[in-house]
């Protein structure tokens, strides 16, 4: 990993950027800023309402909330799979809604994304699955092999490199997906229910891995329903309900503690 060490969160990221007009005025230490973001789908469903969120570089954020609260929509806005109806989504100083078609792939390379269902290609080996992410983004061949070997040893899969996903356990498959997400040296890792298909012990392994990645300076945003893990780790918790952020606390539990 070549990231700079995590910057101290000098500014309080819960302070709302009031009167924000220019994208340049924010982002000092913040990797991700959502400013009064509203998303209404063409069918009239409003998935997010007036969301304010600032995530500084190096942060570890749990995104919690019931199904349909808007977690998936928020993630899709970040990777620009969808565009906000209103408000601004600013990643690394760039307003993602204003990106041209050519720029979208570039911003996605700053993000590593992990899913509940792994999304591995079944006909490719672990090594090929990870290398695929570099091949399709035009990385020169000589740089691919060292990068793949490095992330595979980081996630502890060097020995399984030549196996097919079908021959691996669920935890190993998810670690392959994490390796693929990391191989671009992303600034932000988004994990969408990464432990949803895994048993508790394996889930903890995955979380440990994400924490280690975070220690290396990568910002992690993890959407989850796993109350046990969220409460045990006492990280920052952002709770969504009905499209609104109803809670944003550091060192919090899964449920509100009063």
């Amino acid at each position: 990993m070549t990231q700079a060490p995590p910057r101290a969160a000098a500014r309080s990221y819960r302070e709302r950027p009031v009167g924000l007009t220019e994208t340049e005025t924010v982002g000092d230490g913040a990797l991700l800023v959502l400013h009064s973001v509203t998303k209404t789908y063409p069918n009239g469903n409003t998935a997010l309402r007036d969301v304010e969120l600032v995530v500084p570089e190096g942060d570890f954020v749990f995104l919690v909330g019931p199904s349909g609260a808007g977690k998936s929509t928020l993630i899709r806005l970040l990777i620009r799979d969808e565009i906000a109806t209103d408000g601004a989504v600013i990643l690394d100083g760039q307003d993602v809604a204003r990106l041209t078609r050519r720029q979208v792939p570039r911003i996605r390379r700053k993000i590593g994304i992990i899913f509940q269902d792994f999304k591995l290609l079944p006909t490719k080996t672990v090594w090929e699955n990870v290398a695929f992410a570099l091949e399709v983004t035009g990385t020169p061949r000589r740089r691919i092999a060292p990068a793949v070997d490095r992330v595979l040893s980081l996630v502890g899969l060097a020995a399984q490199a030549q196996q097919l996903p079908g021959q691996l356990s669920g935890g190993e498959q998810q670690r392959t997906a994490i390796a693929r997400a990391l191989v671009h040296d992303p600034r932000l890792v988004i994990a969408d229910e990464p432990t949803g298909n895994l048993d508790p012990l394996i889930s903890w392994e995955i979380i440990q891995l994400l924490l280690r990645i975070n220690e290396l300076g990568v910002t992690v945003l993890m959407a989850t329903h796993n109350a046990e893990i969220v409460t045990a780790l006492r990280k920052r918790v952002v709770a969504l309900e009905d499209g609104r952020i109803i809670r944003d606390e550091v060192g919090a539990a899964y449920h509100r503690e009063d």
Partner: protein, 294 residues
């Protein structure tokens, strides 16, 4: 750049063989359509040559006054020949006209009534062949204005009719050709779309890890081009095998016409290759487009 082209070609090749049944089905469809296209093209070329021949037959006939002196007629013939629209001019004198008339009657097996005449009633005529049968106005005017000419036979209707028929046949042929092309295009689009859908998971991952549109698109474009190329090669092989027997039938059928089929083979190769690869590429482009426009 080189690695990009190499990557795309490699993936196109792998993609073609991974879905080999589908790819070969697409190729077979392509071959079928291209053979159809070639057939139409050959027939159309023959038809066109025939039509050209018929069009060349169209000529202006001007009857010469009985009283006109030979010198005036010869002078008129030479001046007509000098007109830019004119291909050739022939003077048919009354004796020759009568001979031709009798010949025609004999051919039709009718009794020659002219033998009962004591003098030749037919006028001499100037027959003009045009370079382009559509441009006859000037020549007709020119002949009409000359005092040696009694009347110019009404050619406009005849020329118009011939041209209408030939244009209709040409346009009809082109329309059929175009329709066949559109059918091929839709089949190719559908086939490639199936290939794209079969790999939608892969495309989704490519998008998520930040692959540019070109990296997603070009392997499919090359795959479409491969289907087109293979289809065209097979079609041309089939045509080469069929060329000899077909050529004999063609020359037999169109024997009466001075057909020039020299460039047909070259034109056909260009047409089949161009259409095959073009449709393959276009079909892929359209199929992948809908995936990239998200």
């Amino acid at each position: 750049m080189i690695s990009f082209v190499g990557f795309s070609l490699k993936r196109a090749w792998l993609g073609f063989w991974r879905n080999s049944v589908m790819s070969l089905a697409a190729t077979a469809t392509m071959v079928f359509m291209l053979v159809l296209l070639s057939g139409f093209f050959v027939i159309l070329t023959g038809l066109n040559a025939g039509l050209q021949f018929v069009e060349q037959k169209v000529q202006i006939v001007a009857d010469v006054r009985k009283a006109a002196p030979d010198l005036a007629i010869m002078s008129l013939r030479d001046r007509t020949a000098a007109l830019p629209e004119v291909a050739s001019v022939e003077y048919v004198d009354p004796t020759e006209a009568l001979r031709r008339f009798r010949e025609r009657l004999a051919q039709q097996g009718r009794e020659d009534l002219t033998q009962y005449l004591d003098s030749n009633p037919l006028p001499g005529s100037i027959e003009v062949k045009l370079k382009d049968p559509r441009v006859f106005g000037n020549v007709v005017e020119f002949l009409r204005a000359d005092p040696a000419i009694q009347r110019v036979q009404e050619v406009q209707t005849l020329i118009d009719r011939v041209l209408t028929v030939t244009n209709l046949l040409r346009t009809g042929g082109l329309v059929v050709l175009g329709l066949v092309g559109i059918v091929v295009l839709f089949i190719i689009i559908n086939t490639i779309r199936l290939a794209v859908v079969a790999r939608s998971e892969e495309i989704e991952i490519m998008r998520l890890v930040g692959a540019s549109d070109a990296f997603i698109r070009w392997p499919f474009i090359f795959e479409g081009a491969l289907v087109g190329l293979l289809g065209a090669a097979i079609t041309l092989g089939l045509m080469a095998l069929a060329a000899d027997p077909l050529g004999r039938i063609m020359t037999g059928f169109f024997e009466v016409l001075p057909l020039q089929l020299g460039s047909l083979g070259r034109d056909l190769t260009v047409l089949v290759l161009g259409t095959g690869v073009g449709l393959g590429v276009l079909g892929s482009w359209v199929s992948v487009r809908s995936y990239l426009l998200k």
